[in-house]
C-alpha cells in the first residue's frame, strides 16, 4: 500500500534515525542532541495524528490496514514480511507513545540539563520510542518480537544510564534478564504457532486458530499461556514483577516514559491484540485475570510500605497494570476497558512521575518522603498537577480513574459464579488500598511539617526547594489536564470502545449480578475509607524521619518487596551462581581432568614400559623366558580342555 498509510513506516523510522544520529554522532552533537531527540518524536506524533485522522475517515469495516515494507525472512514455508498493521488499536498506542513520549522528552530537556551525557540519554529515549512503535505497529508476531526485545534493550540502557552506580547497573541487568524470561514465553509461542499453523502473521494466525481449537483445544491454551508469560515479563506481573520497582534507578523521565506510560503496557497490548486467541480459551483468559488480580494486590501491599517516592509510584504501576490484566483477562467484550485504563494511566501516571521528578529536582535528588513535608507551598504547580494525578488514580468522581476503573470492577463481578465474587472483591479492596498509599504519598510530600528544614542532603547542603522551570512544568500541566478530562472523553458514550471494536471485537457492557450503581457506591466508600485511614495514621501526627521499628510482619514483608526478591534470590540467583561455579570446577577438574589424566596416565605408562628397555641382555632373556612359559602353559591348558 502506498500513499499516506505507506508513510506509516516513517513513524518508526524518524525516531530510529534520531537515535542513530545521536548515538553515532558523538560529542559533536552535544549542543543540539536534545533538540534532535524532541524534534523526531514530535514529528512522529504529528504524523501519527495525520494517520489517525485518515483511519478515522475510513469506513468502520475497512480500518485494518496492512502495509508491507519488505520481505524479511524467507526460508521454506516460513515467510515473514516486515509489515505494519495500522488499525484502531495500533494507532491508539501510537498516539499514546508519541504524545506522552513527546511531553516527557520536552520535560527531560530541563531535567537532564546538567547531565554531561544528555545527548546519549536522548539517543536511548529515541531508541525506546522507535522500538515501542515497532512493537505496536508490527503485523506479525516476529515483528512484534523485534520491537519487544528492542524495548527491553532500551530500558536496559536507560535504567543503567548512570552506569557508574552499581545499583543502577544491577537494576538494569535484572530488568533485562527478567524480561528475557518472559521473552522465552513469547518466542516459544511463536514457534508453536509456526508448527501448528505454518504462519506467524497476526492475520494468518487469527484466521487459522479456529481450526486448531477444534482439533486440539489444549494447544490454544498452551499458546495463550506462553503469550501470557511474555506479557508478564514486560508488564511486571507476578511472578516477574520484581524488576519494576528496581527500575526506578534510572532518571525519573525514564520511569515516567518506560515504566509507567508505555513499555509496561506492552503486555496488555499483546493480550488485547491476541483477542481472537484468548476468546477461544476460557482457561487462558481466567489465568490472565487471576494473575492480574494477584498482581494488583501485591502492588498495593508493596506501595503501602515504601518511603521512596518513586518506588511507591512504581508499585502503583504494578498494581494498575494488574487491573488492566484483570480487564483483558475477562475476555470477550471488555478488552476495551483494559485499553481505556491503559490510556488514562498513561496520562496520570506519567504526570505523577514527572511531578515526583520535579519534587526530587527541588529536594537535591532526595527520594525519601520522610525528608519531605509541607512542600505544597514551595512547589505550587507541582502540587496541583500531582493532585490531579492523585485524584485520577484513586478514582475520584469525574477524574480519569473513576471512568476507567469502575467498569473493570463491575466486569470482574460480572464473571461467572465464585470467580466473579473473588475477582470483584479483590479489585474492590485494591481500590481502597490504592487510595491509602496514594494519600500517604501526598500527605508525606506536600503537607505537614517541613521536615527538610532540620536536615541536610547527602552532600551536606541545605535544602532549598524551588519550583521547576517551565520546560518541565508545562508538560506536567498538559498531563494533568489529561488526567482530568481524558477518562470522561474516552468513556462517555463508549467512544473508545466503539473505536477499538474493529481490532478487539465489539464492546459489551458488563452485567454484574446487582445494579452497576451499587459497585460505584461501594468503590467510592472503600476509597473514602482508604483516604481516611491514611489521614488517621499519617496525616494526624508528625512523620518520623527514620522508619519506625519494629513493625508488624506484614509491613516488614511489604518493605522487602513482598518477598519477590527473596524468592528470586533463593530459587534462581543463588542456585544459579552455585551451579555455575560447580560447572566451572567440574569442567576444569572433571572433563578436562579426564583428558589431562588420560594424557598423564599414557605418559606414566610409557615411562614405566621404557624401564623395561634397560639394555641388559639377561633381563630381555628373562622376559622372553617368561613369555614362552606363558605360551606353553596356555597351549597345555587349551589342549587338556
Amino acid at each position: 500500500m502506498t500513499g499516506l498509510l505507506g508513510a506509516s513506516v516513517l513513524l518508526i523510522a524518524i525516531p530510529l534515525a534520531g537515535a542513530i544520529v545521536l548515538l553515532a554522532g558523538g560529542r559533536l552533537l552535544d549542543r543540539v542532541g536534545h533538540l534532535i531527540g524532541c524534534g523526531t518524536v514530535l514529528a512522529s506524533f504529528v504524523l501519527g495524528v495525520v494517520i489517525f485522522v485518515r483511519v478515522l475517515g475510513q469506513p468502520v469495516d475497512d480500518r485494518l490496514n496492512t502495509v508491507t515494507v519488505f520481505t524479511w525472512i524467507q526460508s521454506g514455508l516460513l515467510d515473514i514480511d516486515f509489515g505494519l498493521l495500522v488499525d484502531p488499536l495500533s494507532i491508539t498506542f501510537v498516539l499514546l507513545i508519541t504524545g506522552v513520549g513527546s511531553l516527557i522528552h520536552i520535560y527531560s530537556i530541563g531535567y537532564m540539563a546538567h547531565d554531561a551525557d544528555r545527548r546519549k540519554f536522548f539517543g536511548y529515549m529515541n531508541l525506546f520510542v522507535a522500538s515501542m512503535l515497532l512493537l505496536v505497529l508490527g503485523d506479525s508476531f516476529v515483528t512484534l518480537y523485534a520491537g519487544w526485545e528492542g524495548v527491553g534493550l532500551a530500558s536496559y540502557l536507560l535504567i543503567g544510564f548512570w552506569s557508574d552506580r552499581p545499583s543502577a547497573a544491577t537494576a538494569a541487568k535484572k530488568a533485562f534478564i527478567m524480561n528475557r524470561v518472559g521473552d522465552v514465553g513469547l518466542a516459544l509461542a511463536i514457534f508453536l504457532m509456526f508448527k501448528e499453523m505454518g504462519t506467524v502473521s497476526f492475520q494468518g494466525v487469527f484466521d487459522r486458530i479456529d481450526e486448531v481449537a477444534e482439533q486440539s483445544p489444549g494447544t490454544v491454551t498452551v499458546i495463550a499461556l506462553l503469550l501470557l508469560l511474555g506479557a508478564c515479563g514486560k508488564s511486571g506481573q507476578v511472578p516477574l514483577q520484581a524488576w519494576l520497582p528496581d527500575a526506578m534507578e534510572g532518571p525519573t523521565p525514564v520511569s515516567a516514559l518506560i515504566h509507567a506510560a508505555t513499555m509496561v503496557t506492552a503486555g496488555v497490548y499483546l493480550i488485547a491484540r491476541c483477542a481472537p486467541i484468548y476468546d477461544l480459551t476460557a482457561d487462558g483468559g481466567l489465568v490472565v485475570a487471576i494473575i492480574g488480580t494477584v498482581t494488583l494486590l501485591v502492588g498495593c501491599i508493596g506501595g503501602c510500605a515504601k518511603d521512596d517516592i518513586k518506588k511507591v509510584l512504581a508499585y502503583s504501576t504494578v498494581s494498575q497494570i494488574g487491573y488492566m490484566f484483570l480487564a483483558v483477562g475477562l475476555g470477550a467484550g471488555v478488552y476495551a476497558l483494559g485499553i481505556l485504563l491503559l490510556l488514562c494511566h498513561g496520562f496520570f501516571k506519567a504526570g505523577l512521575f514527572l511531578g515526583a521528578g520535579s519534587v526530587m529536582h527541588a529536594m537535591n535528588d532526595d527520594v525519601d518522603m520522610r525528608r519531605y513535608g509541607g512542600l505544597a507551598r514551595r512547589l505550587p504547580i507541582t502540587f496541583v498537577t500531582m493532585a490531579c494525578g492523585y485524584l485520577a488514580i484513586i478514582g475520584f468522581p469525574l477524574f480519569d480513574g473513576f471512568y476507567a476503573k469502575d467498569p473493570i470492577i463491575e466486569a470482574a463481578f460480572a464473571a461467572d459464579g465464585v470467580q466473579g465474587w473473588l475477582l470483584g472483591s479483590a479489585a474492590l479492596v485494591g481500590a481502597g488500598i490504592t487510595a491509602f498509599y496514594m494519600t500517604r504519598l501526598m500527605i508525606m510530600t506536600f503537607f505537614g511539617e517541613p521536615r527538610w528544614k532540620q536536615l541536610k542532603s547527602a552532600d551536606g547542603t541545605d535544602y532549598h526547594p524551588h519550583e521547576s522551570p517551565p520546560v518541565m512544568t508545562i508538560p506536567m500541566i498538559i498531563l494533568a489536564v489529561g488526567s482530568v478530562g481524558a477518562g470522561a472523553f474516552f468513556a462517555i458514550g463508549d467512544r473508545l470502545a466503539n473505536w477499538l471494536a474493529p481490532s478487539v471485537g465489539p464492546y459489551e457492557h458488563p452485567e454484574p449480578p446487582f445494579p452497576a450503581v451499587v459497585v460505584t457506591i461501594a468503590t467510592l466508600a472503600v476509597v473514602a475509607v482508604g483516604v481516611f485511614i491514611a489521614y488517621w495514621f499519617v496525616g494526624r501526627r508528625p512523620v518520623p524521619v527514620t522508619p519506625p521499628m519494629p513493625v508488624p510482619a506484614i509491613v516488614t514483608l511489604a518493605r522487602a518487596d513482598v518477598g519477590g526478591n527473596a524468592i528470586n534470590e533463593t530459587l534462581f540467583a543463588r542456585p544459579g551462581i552455585w551451579l555455575s561455579r560447580a560447572s566451572v570446577y567440574a569442567d576444569a577438574k572433571g572433563v578436562d581432568g579426564l583428558v589431562n589424566g588420560a594424557a598423564a596416565a599414557l605418559g606414566g605408562l610409557s615411562g614405566r614400559w621404557r624401564r623395561w628397555q634397560n639394555g641388559y641382555v639377561r633381563s630381555y632373556a628373562l622376559s622372553m623366558f617368561a613369555g614362552t612359559l606363558v605360551v606353553v602353559l596356555m597351549l597345555l591348558l587349551v589342549r587338556s580342555a
Partner: protein, 477 residues
C-alpha cells in the same frame, strides 16, 4: 573450463607468507604493510569471485552443486584431483575470511610478541592459515578436504605455541593432540569412503559429486562407522561438549589475532564439515545418529552458557560463549528442517562476525588493562566510551538481539528445530536467557560501576574523569 579464482585465493596468501619469510631483516613497518597489501589483494579477489558467482547464473549452472570450479590432476594413481568449487555457504565463509583478515592484521599492528619472535613471522603464519582455511571451504574432493583440514592445524599450532601467552606450550600441545586424534579418525573415514565407493562403483573415488550421487547405495552399517570418524573430528573442531576442553586453553593463550580467527572461522570448519560431508555423503547414518548430535548440541548450549557465566578470565569467557553457540549451529544442522539448516548456515557466518568483534574487543581490553581477569576491571565504559560501546554491540549480537546479525540465524534454528523436536527446542530456548545472564553480568562487572583496577591503567584515571565531567554525573536536575 577452470575458474582460477579459488586457486588464487588459496595460494596468494601463501605466496605472501613466503615473501614475508624471505625479507627477514626488513623494517617492521614494511613487513606489516606488505602483509596488509596481500590480505587486501586477497579481499579484492574474493570480491571478484563473489561478483562472478552472483552475476546472472545460467540455467545449467543452477543444476550443479558447485560453481567456479577448478580441477587439476594431483595423485593420478588414486585418481585424486585437486578440485575446488563453491556453493552459497562456502562462498560466504570464504568472503568472511577475506574480510576478517585485514581487520585481524590491523588489530595486531602493535601486538606485543614474546621475546625473540618477529612480527613478520606472526603475520606470515596468519597468511598461511588463511590459505589453508580457504582450501578447506573450497575443496570438492574429500581427500583435498582432509589434507587442507590437517594443514590448517600447522600454522595454528605455531601461532599458539610460538606467539601465545604464558601457558602457550601447554595450550598448543593440547590443541595439536586433540586435532591429531580427530584427524586420524577422519583419515580412517576418508579411506572408508573410498573403499565403500569402490564396492558400489567397482573403483573407489574421493570426488564429492560422485560420492554424493551414490550416497544412498552405501550400506547403513558401513555409513555408521564412516560417520563416527568424521563426527568425532568435526565435534572436536567445532567443539561440542565434552570434546571442547582444548578451546578455552587455545583461545586464551593464542595472540588476539590468531584467537579471533580460531574462534571466528577455524572452528566453523567443524560445523561446515557436518554440512558438507556428513549430511550429503552419509545420509542414512546422519539421520540415524542425529539424536546423539542433537543431545550433545543442546548440552553444549546449556553447559557452555552456565560455565561461561562462572568464568573469571575474559578470554576463556569468550570461548565458552562460543561453545554455547556451536551448540546452536550443530542443533540446526541435525534438526533437518529447511529453516534450521538455513539458520545454521547463516549462524556460521554471523557468529564469525559477532564473536570476531567480541574477541577483538576483549583482546584490546586485556592488552590495555594488562590483565585478563574480570575482577581487575570496573567502569571501563566511562574511560573508554567507544571500546565500551563496541563491547555493548558485540554483547547484543552475542545474545541475538533483533536488529543484530545473529537474530535471524538463531531464530531460524530454533523455529526450525521446534517443528520437529519441540522438547529439544524448548531446552535450547532457555539458552537465550542464559546468554543474557552471562553477557550482561560480564558487561556489568567490567564496563559499569566506579572506575577502578586495570581500567585506570591506560585510560584516563578517575581524577581525570572528575575533571572531564562537570559535577557529579549522578547529580541530575
Amino acid at each position: 573450463m577452470n575458474s582460477w579464482y579459488l586457486p588464487v585465493l588459496i595460494f596468494l596468501p601463501v605466496v605472501g607468507a613466503l615473501v614475508l619469510a624471505a625479507m627477514g631483516g626488513a623494517p617492521e613497518k614494511t613487513v606489516k604493510l606488505i602483509a596488509l597489501v596481500f590480505s587486501l589483494a586477497e579481499l579484492a579477489v574474493a570480491v571478484a569471485l563473489w561478483i562472478s558467482y552472483t552475476s546472472a547464473p545460467t540455467v545449467s549452472q543452477l543444476d550443479v552443486p558447485f560453481r567456479e570450479t577448478f580441477s587439476a590432476a594431483w595423485i593420478p594413481y588414486y585418481d585424486i584431483d585437486f578440485s575446488l568449487g563453491v556453493d552459497g555457504i562456502s562462498l560466504t565463509m570464504i568472503a568472511l575470511i577475506a574480510v576478517l583478515m585485514p581487520i585481524v592484521l590491523g588489530a595486531s599492528w602493535e601486538e606485543k610478541l614474546p621475546a625473540g619472535r618477529t612480527i613478520g613471522g606472526y603475520f606470515a603464519l596468519l597468511l598461511v592459515l588463511q590459505g589453508a582455511m580457504v582450501a578447506v571451504f573450497a575443496s570438492t574432493n574429500v581427500f583435498v578436504f582432509y589434507v587442507a583440514f590437517e594443514v590448517m592445524l600447522i600454522p595454528m599450532y605455531f601461532l599458539i605455541g610460538a606467539f601465545g601467552g604464558v601457558r602457550r606450550a601447554y595450550a598448543a600441545t593440547k590443541f595439536f593432540l586433540y586435532s591429531l586424534l580427530g584427524g586420524l579418525l577422519m583419515l580412517a573415514s576418508v579411506i572408508g569412503l573410498y573403499v565403500a565407493s569402490g564396492q558400489v562403483l567397482g573403483e573407489g573415488t574421493f570426488d564429492w559429486v560422485t560420492l554424493q550421487s551414490i550416497a544412498s547405495q552405501i550400506p547403513e552399517s558401513t555409513q555408521m562407522w564412516i560417520f563416527a570418524g568424521f563426527a568425532v573430528a568435526f565435534a572436536i573442531k567445532a567443539p561440542l561438549v565434552p570434546l571442547h576442553t582444548w578451546l578455552p586453553d587455545a583461545g586464551t593463550e593464542a595472540p588476539v589475532g590468531a584467537g579471533t580467527l580460531l574462534v571466528g572461522v577455524l572452528d566453523k570448519v567443524g560445523t561446515f564439515g557436518f554440512l558438507r560431508i556428513c549430511l550429503p555423503l552419509l545420509p542414512a547414518a546422519s539421520s540415524k545418529l542425529a539424536w546423539l548430535i542433537i543431545l550433545l548440541a543442546v548440552l553444549g548450549i546449556l553447559y557452555g552458557a552456565i560455565v561461561a557465566a562462572g568464568q573469571t578470565d575474559l578470554k576463556r569467557f569468550v570461548t565458552f560463549t562460543s561453545i554455547a553457540h556451536f551448540g546452536f549451529i550443530a542443533l540446526g544442522v541435525f534438526a533437518f528442517t529447511t529453516q534450521s539448516i538455513a539458520g545454521a548456515a547463516l549462524y556460521m557466518v554471523n557468529h564469525g562476525i559477532a564473536t570476531g568483534l567480541l574477541f577483538l574487543v576483549v583482546g584490546m581490553l586485556t592488552v590495555r588493562g594488562g590483565s585478563k581477569l574480570v575482577g581487575d576491571y570496573g567502569g571501563v565504559w566511562k574511560v573508554a566510551p567507544i571500546l565500551g560501546g563496541m563491547f555493548m554491540i558485540a554483547a547484543l549480537a552475542t545474545i541475538a538481539m533483533p536488529g543484530t546479525n545473529s537474530f535471524i540465524s538463531e531464530f531460524l534454528v530454533l523455529i526450525g528445530t521446534f517443528s520437529r523436536h519441540p522438547v529439544w527446542a524448548v531446552l535450547a530456548t532457555i539458552g537465550i536467557v542464559l546468554a543474557a545472564v552471562y553477557m550482561l553480568w560480564i558487561f556489568q562487572r567490567t564496563m559499569t560501576g566506579p572506575v577502578r583496577g586495570a581500567a585506570v591503567v591506560g585510560g584516563r584515571g578517575p581524577d581525570d574523569v572528575q575533571e572531564a565531567l562537570p559535577g557529579d554525573p549522578g547529580d541530575a536536575g
